[in-house]
């Protein structure tokens, strides 16, 4: 349909007499055509005059009352909503809009920010500290494991060397459940592996002794871990390599020349 055809339909359109399809098409055209929109306005004025052809009638006074009542109720409701909104607005900016209060607001904001930052840093520091402790513990553990591994390797190396011997030490009445193995080769190179020994009191260590007849010769001292394991690498004196009894006592840390404490472990039992 072209513009002129739409234009011709407008007088019928203002009477609401166009059928569905034509009505929709013209409505679409009117929304895009300023000329037809002006034409519509002119025809609407003509059509409106037809209303005066109807017999004028007086409506019931109640209609006016109903209209005004509805409007007043709506106005009251709008007023109430406006006041409610105004109250909200007043309540909120009272502490933020006035210039006098800007500094205190910024001070509070800065203080809050500082506290948050400090708390965050403290948490990071704590976490970092905890992590460092864990790392240190793991490092120590790793170091211990490596030492133990090294001693185990040395123990087996000694044990597997030609002419090597291994003596077993049993727990005395002090610690019946304790035991130890002492591997040593023909050069006197010895490795001790002890189990089941109680942790030594502060200032004390376990010490290895080589006993030949009535002669007791001191070996090195060692400590045990929390599980009661202890390892020691030592050198057996030449005089004790063939027929010595090995014993372990609890002595002052660093070892002594003559045994003073009770025997915890010994061979030949």
């Amino acid at each position: 349909m072209v513009h002129e055809e739409f234009k011709e339909m407008i007088p019928t359109y203002v009477l609401s007499a166009l059928d569905g399809e034509e009505n929709r098409a013209l409505s679409d055209h009117l929304s895009q055509c300023a000329e037809c929109q002006r034409e519509l306005e002119n025809w609407q004025a003509t059509a409106a005059t037809l209303s005066l052809g109807a017999q004028p009638l007086e409506p019931s006074p109640a209609v006016h009352d109903r209209i005004m009542k509805a409007i007043r109720e709506e106005s009251l409701q709008n007023d109430a909503e406006s006041k409610a909104k105004a109250n909200v607005i007043k309540f909120k900016p009272a502490n933020t809009v006035s210039g006098r209060n800007y500094s205190s607001v910024w001070a509070i904001a800065a203080a809050v920010l500082f506290l948050i930052t400090a708390a965050t840093l403290f948490l990071f520091w704590q976490e970092s500290r905890a992590n460092n402790q864990i790392i240190a513990e793991l490092s120590r553990e790793l170091q211990n494991q490596r030492s133990e591994l090294d001693r185990s390797r040395n123990f087996f190396k000694v044990m597997m060397s030609p002419g090597a011997r291994m003596d077993e030490l049993a727990g005395t009445n002090q610690v019946p459940e304790a035991s130890a193995k002492l591997a040593h080769d023909k050069t006197g190179h010895a490795m001790l592996m002890a189990n089941g020994l109680p942790p030594a009191p502060t200032g004390k260590e376990y010490q290895l002794w080589f006993i030949v007849g009535k002669k007791t010769m001191p070996g090195k001292s060692f400590s045990v871990d929390s599980s009661g394991k202890g390892m020691l690498e030592d050198q057996i004196p030449e005089s004790a390599r063939d027929a010595a009894i090995f014993a372990i006592t609890l002595e002052p840390a660093g070892g002594v020349d003559v045994p003073t404490g009770a025997i915890y472990l010994r061979s030949g039992l």
Binding site: T12, E41, A48, E58, S60, A62, H64, E74
Partner: protein
């Protein structure tokens, strides 16, 4: 053609209503209630329903007075167009159409009050009825069936037993004749 108390023109009233002036609504209602109610009763053929639509119309005016654009037509045209549009929508609902078919137009005429006292409105009505009477009868019928009874071209063709094309021609010719007869008078209807 000025009513006795029309110191404020219709455009100013609508502007005041847009500014939520309740008194302005009351004034506009007083000016147009008789014309609009007459139109609504003529279309709906039922006073109660016409009163409902009149109430809805003025509440619509209360809400939408800000939409009125003086450059696009007079307040009278705007009000009548809104009123008729509402009435036609209601008329075209099935229930309403059935009820209208069962009611007598004569009964409504008998209920009409003698509110034609306003000389201005009488004069305007006289001009319109005179203009309509100058149209050929078939054109008059087509316009009345469309404007007051809310029938479409197809329905009018069925009602009159005339070809659709003929009805289209009659309606367009009738409107053009009406505009010609009224001349510039249609632009002065209403109060200001």
């Amino acid at each position: 053609m000025q009513p006795e108390e029309a110191q404020i023109d219709d455009v100013a009233l609508l502007k005041a209503i847009a500014g939520k002036d309740e008194k302005a609504v009351s004034q506009l209602y007083d000016r147009y209630r008789v014309v609009l109610f007459g139109l609504l009763v003529r279309i709906l053929n039922n006073r109660e329903e016409a009163e409902d639509v009149l109430q809805e119309l003025f509440l619509q005016v209360w809400h939408r007075a800000g939409d009125y654009d003086p450059n696009r037509g007079r307040p009278f045209t705007w009000l009548v167009t809104l009123a008729r549009s509402r009435a036609i929508d209601r008329l075209r609902s099935v229930a309403s159409r059935e009820r209208v078919a069962n009611e007598s137009a004569r009964e409504v005429t008998e209920e009409v009050s003698d509110a034609v006292a306003d000389a201005v409105r009488s004069e305007q009505r006289g001009i319109v009825t005179s203009a309509l009477s100058q149209l050929p009868e078939e054109q008059q019928k087509a316009l009345v069936l469309a404007y007051f009874d809310g029938l479409t071209q197809s329905e009018i063709a069925d009602r009159l037993g005339a070809p659709l094309g003929t009805v289209k021609t009659r309606m367009r010719a009738g409107m053009m004749k009406l505009r010609e007869v009224l001349g510039g008078k249609s632009q002065s209807f209403g109060f200001k």
